[in-house]
């Protein structure tokens, strides 16, 4: 066994052990198990706790790195490099190529440019390799300092993470922030170079594409061809992804892409996965052309022996799917079937940053069988990693769950409910309403009190529309006495939420909520509590419905409480209900009233 293992990677033993551990649907996520107090129950808490964990780590790292003098003792034997402070500040002060290299490796854009200029002024030549690195650095960050407040890489990782969790809007603005400025240092240095090779052009073109200067990038490419140089695969990948930006019409866009591909072939550049993914991504913005060409592109990949990644399929599907176009859905579903049978059972590694976007798209239809196939694919191997961050996971599981609620029998829904919630997914209000509707459809309303407990646990107890729906479902029909009893307990619980007894933000009482709770209490023969509810109507300036009053009267009659009945009529009169006379007559008829009461 040892011989066998020694040939494997250093993680082989642990991987084997890890594969024996299954997910426990009743447990919280592993990252929160250290501290039961921090076990999150809602998605907001989850976000808060995981981000604070992350930022705590970053803070510690930042402190260590910026104060290396306190962390000189190396206890570990053998030495563990990652526990020691990283070098983040500049050490070399003199003007030399070494100093320039140091500035580049620490990603100090401005300092590096200054150093380069000083070197040129001093008449010292800079080697081509260092120049490449410098151009790469400037172009990657578009001649700006990378986003980091004095901290090392981890700092901008966490910053980026924070952006991601806030969704797309934030990211779009980030993107707009970095634009390619005219004649920035990259262009200046580039123009000063005595000789330029492919790598220099590559840096410039990629930087321009990345920072939105698409036309410039294509000019640069033409310039490069005029200088009798051939491009490399990265240049082509960048250009292809920029192609939709420089042409208006769909067919012109595609023509440009096809021309670039032909040039690749002429220049004997072998395409890679990212080339084709860029093509497919660009095709998303080519309208109807995309459909045929996307399939042709897939075939081309196959012919070249390049296995498509999940992103390739995502782009292809996007070409066939436009939100809300129902006649397209069959087409889309057909294609999705094909993709799924292609992918079934395989495990993926991430090869393209867009790889994780496929999943939730897959569930955007009404085919439950297909959804199960997607889900089993997600469960296969390491594919769960590709679901992406918590935000994307929430979207995916949200869609899956609402599809289940819509299409499946309630028992199956509940099985998945226990499996997914809350260990993988914190449903939003819409998710819970879907569940309530599923309960309603299969007439399992008796489960409502347990669902109410979950609603409270998930922090949705302050969402009025959800509570209204819950109460309406409970009050709609009369059930067996046991069920009514449990409903009444639940209703009192809801009432305490409305009153703000839990120290939470109290909700505004609505007429329907008051009516529902009161009638639920009445049906469970909790007359006293129902009576208190009726007083609440007055306190909250709400008017009870006629049916409720009738129900009340019947209840009084059954209990033989003429005092109550009279009081009820008086109350009704106070509310100026049109049914007051009728109630009064009913009271007169049904009860033996004393003169005084008359």
């Amino acid at each position: 066994l040892m011989m066998f293992l020694s040939n494997r990677s250093k993680e082989a033993v642990l991987e084997a052990l890890a594969s024996t551990v299954n997910r426990d649907p009743t447990a919280y996520k592993y990252q929160f198990q250290d501290d039961p107090y921090l076990a999150p129950r809602t998605s907001a808490e989850f976000k808060l706790f995981s981000l604070s964990q992350e930022s705590g780590r970053s803070a510690a790292k930042y402190f260590i790195n910026s104060n290396p003098k306190f962390f000189t003792k190396d206890f570990a034997e053998p030495h563990i490099p990652c526990l020691m402070p990283e070098k983040v500040s500049l050490l070399l002060e003199e003007v030399s190529e070494e100093a320039l290299k140091e500035r580049i490796s620490l990603r100090k854009v401005k300092a590096a440019v200054d150093m380069y200029d000083q070197l040129l002024q001093a008449g010292t030549g800079v080697s081509m390799e260092t120049t490449h690195d410098l151009l790469d650095l400037i172009c990657l960050y578009s001649d700006r300092e990378p986003v980091q407040e004095g901290g090392p890489e981890t700092e901008d990782v966490s910053a980026e993470e924070a952006n991601r969790s806030k969704g797309r809007i934030r990211r779009a603005s980030d993107f707009l922030k970095t634009i390619w400025r005219e004649n920035n240092n990259a262009e200046r240095i580039f123009n000063l170079l005595p000789e330029r090779d492919t790598h220099c052009y590559s840096a410039l073109i990629r930087g321009m594409i990345r920072h939105g200067a698409y036309v410039k990038a294509f000019d640069m490419y033409t310039d490069m061809l005029n200088n009798r140089m051939t491009a490399d695969v990265r240049i082509f990948n960048a250009l292809i992804s920029g192609a939709p930006e420089v042409r208006e019409k769909y067919n012109e866009r595609w023509d440009l892409i096809a021309e670039l591909l032909n040039q690749m072939n002429q220049q004997k550049v072998q395409p890679n996965l990212l080339t084709f993914n860029s093509v497919l991504k660009a095709l998303r913005r080519c309208g109807s052309l995309a459909r045929t060409q996307a399939l042709h592109t897939l075939s081309e990949m196959k012919a070249l022996g390049i296995a498509p990644s999940l992103a390739s399929f995502d782009h292809t599907l996007a070409a066939f799917y436009k939100a809300g176009k129902h006649s397209d859905i069959t087409l889309h579903t057909d294609l999705l079937q094909e993709v799924m049978s292609e992918l079934a059972g395989s495990s993926f590694t991430c090869q393209d940053p867009d790889d994780g976007k496929l999943w939730s798209v897959c569930l955007d239809n009404k085919d439950i069988e297909l959804a199960y196939r997607v889900q089993s694919l997600v469960e296969a191997g390491e594919n769960w990693r590709l679901l992406g961050d918590s935000h994307q996971q929430t979207i995916y599981y949200g869609r899956f769950f609402s599809l289940l609620c819509m299409m499946e029998h309630i028992d199956v829904v509940l099985k998945w409910y226990r499996k997914l919630i809350p260990s993988l997914y914190y449903p939003n209000v819409q998710g819970m309403r879907d569940l309530l509707q599923a309960l309603d459809t299969d007439s399992r309303l008796d489960l409502l009190p347990t669902i109410w407990k979950d609603i409270q646990l998930l922090g949705h107890a302050n969402k009025s529309e959800l509570i209204e729906e819950l109460l309406a479902l409970m009050a709609r029909e009369t059930h067996s006495p046991e069920v009514q009893e449990s409903f009444a307990v639940c209703a009192l619980d809801v009432k305490s939420v409305f009153n703000g007894d839990r120290g939470t933000l109290s909700l505004e009482w609505s007429t329907s909520a008051l009516c529902h709770i009161t009638s639920l209490l009445l049906r469970a023969k909790r007359t006293q509590e129902a009576w208190e509810m009726l007083q609440l109507f007055k306190a909250k300036n709400r008017v009870p419905s006629e049916e409720l009053m009738n129900e009340f009267l019947l209840e009084c009659h059954a209990a033989g409480a003429p005092d109550r009945a009279v009081e009820l009529v008086q109350l009704s009169a106070a509310f100026c209900l049109p049914a007051t006379p009728r109630l009064a007559q009913q009271t007169l008829k049904d009860f033996d009233l004393t003169d005084e009461q008359r």
Binding site: A18, K29, T292, L295, L304, S327, D334, C350
Partner: protein, 446 residues
């Protein structure tokens, strides 16, 4: 069952052009109309819809009731595609082309019923070209068809019960290898057929016999297939010599969207608008393309861009860049961010730590961190006397002292051999520097 038999017979008895009039049965008139105005591609799409219908109704309780219906629609689907073809009967060559296509469709998709499909098509294909023996062969084929269907019914029931859940895969392949080769060879044949003359390509013959081996009456089927293929060849050749423009039609037909009557045939609900405002229509080429996908059961076997030519691995692999550039680092960072790297259990966390170098590697090895020492044999550590041979006296107090030093060093596991050598070398230098003093003190040196 009766209806579909009837429909299979229809084209046999009637000249191709009149198929539609005779086929307007009340139950199927919608489909037939669509066939009539849609032409070949439309017929294919109809086929696929009926196929979809069929595969949709597979929830267990409904299935028993539906089974007979399923078969029904399946067979009528065969008839449908046949009708679609006879529509284009005037362009015989194209018909032949399509027939082969749908033969592929049958063999790959039909799964359980390749016999029925293939037989029907063959026999229908004949009368449009050779009108002499229409009646006779029609009868024969009908008999053959009926015989085949009996087999198929029993087969299908069994299979359906077995494979209730596997709706999207072909129900069963009687002879997968043979079928697959048939498919690929038919495709090949379609591409190449015009290049060959009277003599049949050996590949084609092989394909035909492979296809025939799936039929009940093997030798007869094979000869029929081959005869059909020869006829097709002949017609192709004639057509090619006679009218080159027809060939153009065939090529244009591959992009079905380019038809003049397309505007009229477009249903109203297909005019839609793109998200970004520019209108586009659901053109037929897409349907055809997807049908192609469906037919071949494979996303990748469609037409390709045809820009790059596949190269063998050793042909040229671009030398990987000497060191990863900052772009690569950035890309890797993006990849990591787009995936979920959170450990799910303790072991996964330990894997992470191992990768970061914080944890002892498993299997536990007490020489971890001493990798460079692993290549040094133990005697280098223990037998250090050989380092005393140079630069030290062979006897006397200095020698005695050094022997003690070496003995101590040989028992020390905490320093490397290099360090031990350096240690000895230090003493060598030291004693050489002190030569004068030692000689004064009359210590024996050499």
């Amino acid at each position: 069952m009766y209806r579909c038999v009837f429909r299979a017979v229809c084209p046999v008895r009637q000249p191709a052009a009149h198929v539609f009039e005779t086929c307007v049965l009340p139950a199927r008139c919608v489909q037939v109309f669509r066939v009539a105005d849609g032409g070949g591609a439309k017929a294919l799409s109809t086929t696929s819809t009926s196929f979809c219908e069929k595969s949709d109704g597979v929830t267990p309780p409904e299935r028993d009731g539906k089974r007979s219906e399923d078969k029904d629609s399946h067979l009528s689907e065969t008839a449908n595609s046949v009708e679609g073809k006879t529509d284009d009967g005037s362009k015989v060559i194209r018909m032949a082309e399509q027939r082969e296509d749908s033969a592929v469709l049958k063999t790959s998709e039909g799964g359980a019923a390749p016999q029925g499909g293939v037989t029907v098509e063959q026999e229908v294909g004949k009368p449009t070209q050779v009108k002499g023996d229409v009646a006779k062969s029609g009868k024969e084929s009908l008999l053959g068809l009926l015989g085949a269907m009996k087999v198929e019914v029993t087969n299908k029931k069994k299979l359906k019960n077995l494979k209730a859940k596997q709706r999207y895969e072909p129900a069963v392949k009687p002879n997968p290898a043979a079928l697959e080769s048939t498919i690929s060879m038919f495709q090949k044949a379609t591409a190449e057929s015009s290049a060959h003359s009277e003599t049949l390509d050996p590949d084609l013959v092989a394909a035909a016999s492979a296809a025939a081996s799936t039929l009940p009456n093997q030798s007869q089927a094979e000869s029929e297939l081959l005869r059909q293929l020869r006829r097709h060849e002949a017609v192709t050749e004639a057509q090619r010599k006679g009218d080159m423009s027809n060939l153009g039609v065939i090529i244009a037909d591959m992009k079905v969207g380019r038809r003049p009557n397309r505007q009229n045939a477009r249903p109203a609900n297909q005019i839609r608008f793109d998200d970004d405002g520019q209108g586009y229509t659901h053109d037929r080429s897409i349907t055809a393309e997807l049908d192609g996908v469906r037919r071949r059961r494979n996303l990748f076997s469609g037409k390709r861009l045809g820009i790059f030519s596949p190269t063998t691995d050793e042909d040229k692999t671009p030398p990987p860049p000497a060191k990863p550039t900052i772009w690569d680092v950035d890309f890797a960072n993006h990849l990591v961010l787009s995936t979920n790297q959170m450990p799910r259990n303790g072991f996964e966390e330990m894997i992470q730590w191992t990768r970061e170098g914080k944890l002892w590697q498993y299997p536990v090895n007490n020489e971890a961190g001493l990798e460079e020492e692993a290549s040094v044999p133990f005697h280098e550590h223990v037998f250090l006397e050989k380092h005393l041979e140079e630069g030290f006296p062979s006897q006397g107090p200095v020698r005695h002292f050094m022997e003690l030093v070496v003995s101590g060093l040989s028992k020390n596991p905490y320093v490397t051999v290099q360090q031990k050598k350096e240690h000895i070398a230090w003493f060598r230098d030291y004693f050489q520097q002190k030569t004068d003093i030692l000689q004064e003190a009359d210590v024996y040196l050499n």
